[in-house]
């Protein structure tokens, strides 16, 4: 389950977002959408811990990851070259479920939160309609990779709807009416919180992929708790998630 993988390419999608492609046949053949991998970004002891990344897409024996530079780990990863080696632990966690009775899949992504969706979209039933709601701070920071049927919102109004992606979703509620909808969300916590409330109020079935600091990524360190909805109980993002039903957790 630790796969020594070769970097096939690393491209910049915009100033801050990178797309990493690795040759990882066993991960590619066993992963499902919404799962993640825990990547050791160097052979040395620094940084000490692995870094978790959503599986963005899979093509043949190649696995894609989408990431922003956040700290030293992602900084080092952004300097990788074709042919470099990465030791990747995965696939890990519980991904999206596409089962159920609905006719329209609605993706709601904020910033680099679009990461898990290209792979998910590949698995969608082609008979169902699919819409993507994408939000970002500005036109430059939108990451559209692998998405289609886009409805765009920016905080500064530089493109699309002026406001948050959840406000956009609400403003188009009429458009969504009459459909049997399943929402898949991923993005920053404030966005996910607003999405949870929206899904709850409109009675829409919704799954969210959440982020957390992690050490191991498979349940032994207990370092990534998330409060269960009932309270007084924690779930682990790495093992019980990272995808949860929106009613399952308190953000």
């Amino acid at each position: 389950m630790i796969e020594n993988s070769i970097v096939e390419s690393l491209e910049t999608l915009n100033n801050t977002t990178f797309l990493l492609k690795t040759h990882s046949p066993s991960i590619a053949s066993s992963a499902s959408p919404g799962q993640f991998c825990n990547i050791k970004v160097t052979d040395s002891g620094f940084p000490l811990l692995r870094r978790p990344f959503s599986i963005c897409d899979i093509e043949g024996e190649s696995v894609f990851y989408l990431f922003d530079i956040h700290g030293q780990g992602t900084m080092i990863l952004s300097g990788k070259k074709r042919g470099d080696r990465l030791e990747i632990l995965g696939p890990l966690g519980k991904g999206f479920s596409t089962e159920g009775d609905y006719d329209t899949s609605v993706i709601v992504a904020g910033g680099v939160g679009c990461a898990p969706f290209p792979f998910l979209i590949r698995k969608f039933d082609k008979n169902k309609k699919m819409l993507c709601y994408l939000g970002g701070r500005s036109k430059e920071q939108l990451v559209k990779y692998g998405l289609s049927n886009l409805h765009i919102a920016t905080d500064d109004g530089s493109v699309g709807f002026h406001g948050t992606v959840i406000d956009l979703l609400k403003s188009e509620a009429d458009y969504l009416e009459g459909r049997r909808i399943r929402i898949y969300g991923c993005g920053p916590n404030p966005m996910l919180k607003a999405l949870q409330t929206f899904a709850d109020e409109s009675g829409i079935d919704c799954q969210i992929s959440v982020e957390s600091v992690m050490a191991c990524g498979f349940g032994i360190c207990q370092g990534c708790p998330i409060e269960a909805s009932g309270g007084e109980r924690y779930l682990l993002v790495c093992k019980d998630g990272p995808v949860f039903h929106s009613k399952e957790v308190r953000l």
């Binding site: 630790i2 992690m214 050490a215 032994i220 360190c221 708790p225 924690y234």
Partner: protein, 305 residues
């Protein structure tokens, strides 16, 4: 090359090799068993068990620091009853040597936990955690108090015939005094060391990086401190020592044994490489072969000064 005998004894506890997985870094064995063969290890030490289940601390519980990490998990665990019902059956099938780590907030609670678990044949020994830095009651309160450690050791000793190992805190000035108290009260061995108290702040928000404010520092950063503590105990007290603290590879493990450890536990490295234990056993074996060491136990305390 002659065959190396990797077996070691810690009091009455016989292990097929000196490498154990440390409490809190192996859960109850099920998750990590997908990545490594637990039956090949010297043994595994469970996540601390308390009488009643504990939810643990709110997030954020961990943060990476230079060559280490801080954690304040807060002894999240399922409690002894659920452990017996839900985890023991799985662990039976693993064919792994099991040491149960116990945490409690009173002497009576330690004794009660041990009594409840004592009948489980699978449990080979108890490791008593008197040194968790991340809970309000118990934990370090005991670990810093010589009389409390003596009392807990004695009372647990009376409650079981199984080997009793006391896990000591490094957050004291003379750890050897605590090891002496363990010995004097019938403890079979000490585990040294638990984590060091540490903290980290975000310079922009000026807030602590973990919710509990302080946490336990582990990883390669603490190895020299841990080695010094093991060495101090070895020189001052005649008691078997299980060395713990920042072991990442077989060389670190050999170093701990040379400094005085009869066996070692590996912890933080499991988070990065869940198969590290097996790799360390293989590395130790090769090291012994190449150096004509027939019994690995001869390494223990073999320092030259």
């Amino acid at each position: 090359m002659s065959e190396v005998d990797l077996s070691v004894s810690i009091g009455n506890l016989k292990l097929k090799n000196p490498v154990l997985l440390a409490s809190g870094t192996v859960g109850y064995g099920n998750e990590i068993s997908e990545f490594t063969d637990l039956s090949r290890l010297g043994g595994i030490v469970t996540k601390s068990l308390s009488l009643k289940p504990r939810q643990g601390n709110p997030p954020q519980r961990i943060v990476e620091t230079a060559s280490g990490m801080l954690n304040a998990i807060g002894l999240a665990n399922i409690g002894v009853e659920a452990f017996i019902k839900e985890k023991i059956p799985f662990l039976k099938g693993l064919n792994a040597i099991l040491i149960c780590n116990i945490a409690a907030s009173s002497v009576e609670e330690y004794v009660e936990c041990v009594k409840i678990l004592n009948g489980e044949e699978l449990i080979q020994a108890f490791e008593i955690n008197v040194s968790c830095p991340n809970v309000k009651e118990g934990g370090l309160e005991f670990g810093n108090d010589l009389r409390a450690v003596a009392d807990i050791t004695g009372r647990v000793r009376e409650s079981t015939d199984k080997p009793v190992i006391i896990k000591l805190s490094p957050n004291v000035s003379r750890i050897s005094q605590f090891a002496q108290a363990v010995k004097d009260n019938g403890g079979d061995a000490v585990s040294a060391i638990n984590t060091l108290v540490g903290t980290a702040f975000d310079i922009n928000t000026r807030r602590p990086k973990i919710k509990n404010i302080t946490g336990g520092l582990s990883g390669p950063a603490i190895k020299p401190v841990a080695l010094a503590k093991v060495f101090e105990i070895k020189r001052e007290v005649e008691i078997p020592i299980i060395g713990i603290g920042g072991i990442s590879d077989w060389k670190d493990a050999a170093e701990f044994m040379i400094a005085g450890a009869s066996a070692v536990q590996i912890g933080t490295v499991n988070f990065i490489n869940p198969n590290a234990g097996i790799e360390i056993i293989d590395g130790l074996k090769t090291f012994c072969s190449q150096n004509s060491i027939i019994n690995i136990s001869d390494l223990t305390g073999s320092y030259q000064i």
